[in-house]
Amino acid sequence: MIAWVQTLAETMAVTCLALLTGGALLSLVADDYKPVVILPHRLFPLVALIAGLGSFVPVLRLVLFLEPDTGCMEAVRLGVFLSRTGQVWLGLLVVSVLLALFLQVRDVRSSKWTAGWALFGTWMLILIKSWMGHVASVSDISGWVLQSVHLTSVCVWAGGLMVVGFFTVDTARWLSFLRWFTPTAIGCVTAVILAGWGLMGTVDPEYVASWVLPYGEALLLKQWMTAGVLVTAGVNGGWIRRKLARGEEVNPLPWMRAEAVQILLVVAITAWMSQEAAPHTVAETVQAVGVSPLFEGLFPGKWYPGLRAEWQGYLLGGLLVLWALILLAMIPLLYRQRRSAYGAVWLAGLAACAGFVGVLVWAYGG
């Protein structure tokens, strides 16, 4: 139960951080280089507050964990004030409240100074939030730096997409917007990759074996879902852009929204993942938390200590993977035939499910 609450709250917190980043960034950009974006006045203080409050759930989890042994007051003291997670969260809350007050008093769009300060405050939130996370705690400063790069890039990319996708009223200067946004987005994606590579040292080394654990499964699903995002991003940054450059009539907004929604789904999977046991040794982790219910459901009675992927279900598994790829390939088709952009979300989700099951079946037989 609390796992779902945490997933939801965490997804909301990251969404809010992305909205803040996107809003402040767009307000900083000169009018010539962006479409006409109308940002609701009350949105930003609220979003700043949620970004801080939403990160409370991991702390609540600690308090609930300690409570049966220590009693309520002591659990709060240990969990909120003495634990690293609790202390970092308190810092996050202070900054988020200050930022919310600032944005309440001064509108982000009112001046470049305000936007600059808002962006700075948001970045502080991102940095503190990265400190709260798990990599920063187990590795030294480099883990935190990489985590910050990761979160910052996601916020710039998804934030830009969301703010522009959902609050644009006129796409007149779209091309001059894309001229800086597409390279920025590509830079963000690259930074996410590099940060990921940098953290490979602490990442689960038994990648394939970890598919018997919730963590490994979520990772696999996330990778399939990311494939869908990249296909949609390809439509956005490539195809639509070229058509616009040729002067054709296209409405890019629905496709931006579709991409933003897909990124949010990936963020949600990540949020769910971050509370699961990361498997540095799969066998040990299975001893501690057991095989994932999903694995047990798909392959009842299959698991035993020492189970390895056998790569024997290649017929059915391969078919499912092929099917997932076809579904992904249908996303550009959707665009070509001028059909609903939200179809991309459905197709990508379906492709992720099919690909996910396909890879598992491929590895562990039917």
Binding site: L62, L82, I193, G234, L327, Q337, L350
Partner: protein, 180 residues
Amino acid sequence: MNRKWIRYIGLCLCIWLVPSLAAAHTHLKQSTPSDGETVSQPVQKLTLVFEERIEQGGSVELRDEAGHTLKPSSVKVQGDTLEATLGPALPDGHYTAKWKIIGLDGHPMQGSFHFEVKAGKTSAGQKPSPVPKQQPTPHHDQHAAPVKRSTSSPVIWVVAILVLSTAVIVGWLFWRKPKA
């Protein structure tokens, strides 16, 4: 296929191959008495060493064969070590120690280990039992040999549901007339 597209696909493949950020949870590294150990010295203290630093607020409790729980008189957490002082030495018997800690990553963890005390000290009411009822099994060797049960897998049903949803979704998306 121009160069731009090849570069784009290369990028996609890279992202695909990179797992996301992760880090290990804080597991129990070693303990005194250790898992499965038979101790012939009196036991008055439990020491648990974890893989990383742990937070204040960790706890450990002992359960004997009869199912009685024993709380340590004091617990001290320092760095990666949790030290529980039991007070009087433990009477002979089998014990399960259940620990609960919070890793520095903020993740609560719990687990247990077993040990046996054979120091010649028995508790007041308990007769010395020379033959242990059951051998303490360290939980790392607890498993039977790999046996494959032939349980029918629901994979085929999952595939059926996927086929059906594909039909519905693709049909719904592509059937209607496109917007002009």
